[in-house]
Symmetry: C2
């Protein structure tokens, strides 16, 4: 056999990326083999190379897609005019929802940075920092406006993002709480802590 009936290159490429996300999310990048990936797509191992230059380049593409769309999505949503508290609550809601809805992307971005070649890693890290700056700016504006007491912006931003990102590692769709309820709990924790 050679070319299969009804085969369309664009569809195969999409299928490869979808399958790769799924496999890397569950097994990890190094543990995923191109043979597993090809089998998941329903194609021979060599055929993957029509759409992907190398395994490393595949990971790089997935990471860049994710971090770029994370930045883009937030930029489109951000309401610059609002007060710091509202903006912070919006950020919490956005970050949690995004991380639940696109769990595979997020897990890959957070667990596989090590596997990314050094030449690409710096780029991803810098884009991630760019995203984190959004939160730092909100906190900074809040402190300037007197809405928040003085706090170390860098540490607070790291802490809050770690807290929010953590959700996608324990969230289950059939869990006790809805996404909105989980968001509410986190908004309260971020704003007021446990003593209120």
């Amino acid at each position: 056999m050679a070319r299969t009936k009804g085969s369309v290159g664009a569809d195969t490429k999409t299928a490869i990326y979808v399958a790769a996300k799924k496999l890397i999310e569950t097994k990890g990048f190094e543990a995923m083999t191109l043979r597993q990936l090809a089998a998941e797509v329903g194609v021979q191992p060599g055929s993957v190379y029509r759409y992907v230059k190398s395994k490393d380049e595949l990971l790089q593409a997935l990471m860049n897609q994710h971090i770029s769309s994370l930045i883009e999505d937030w930029d489109q949503l951000e309401g610059k005019g609002e007060d710091p508290v509202s903006r912070l609550k919006a950020f919490v809601a956005f970050h949690i929802r995004y991380h639940i809805e696109r769990r595979a992307d997020v897990v890959i971005a957070n667990l596989e940075l090590r596997s990314l070649g050094e030449e690409y890693r710096a780029d991803v890290v810098s884009k991630r920092s760019q995203y984190e700056a959004n939160l730092r700016n909100i906190l900074s504006d809040g402190v300037k406006a007197g809405a928040f007491p003085k706090v170390d912006l860098e540490v607070a931003a790291y802490a809050i993002i770690a807290m929010l990102t953590g959700v996608c590692f324990w969230y289950r769709p059939d869990g006790r709480l809805s996404i909105d309820e989980i968001i509410e709990v986190h908004q309260k924790l971020v704003l007021q802590g446990v003593v209120g």
Copy 2:
């Protein structure tokens, strides 16, 4: 050559575990080869098998060592008699300090769960939950005593631990803040949030 001068089995075993932690921390478990590990120890690849039954069993041992000592160390430190706020602050301090001081153990435990065989994974996950119960109990006692307003214990515990664990992924010894200062910021965030 065969047995080398001055070789002691116990020392070699220790060296293997130390080197494995370092390599897995930086490269990841799947990416680390036994040849790299052997080279780091200064020994031939086959010689590792005098001390380790298999690569998988090595990971399992490292994970179990870590999670057990985490539970043990906290149990020895916990002051049961104190008020919820003090206990919570103590937990924050302990968790951050432990995660900075034993970064390799922690990184492995958090990033390599996937690589652990399913038969061992359940055990580690259950022990981790046992550790997390310490925080849930503190929060629960605080709510009962009226020191904390009502909060979802499960979500709050996940959120706080994610926040604290996050420190070991960005902390640098030559950074701007000392460990104590970082702990203070986190204690304030956990207790009062950003609006105070």
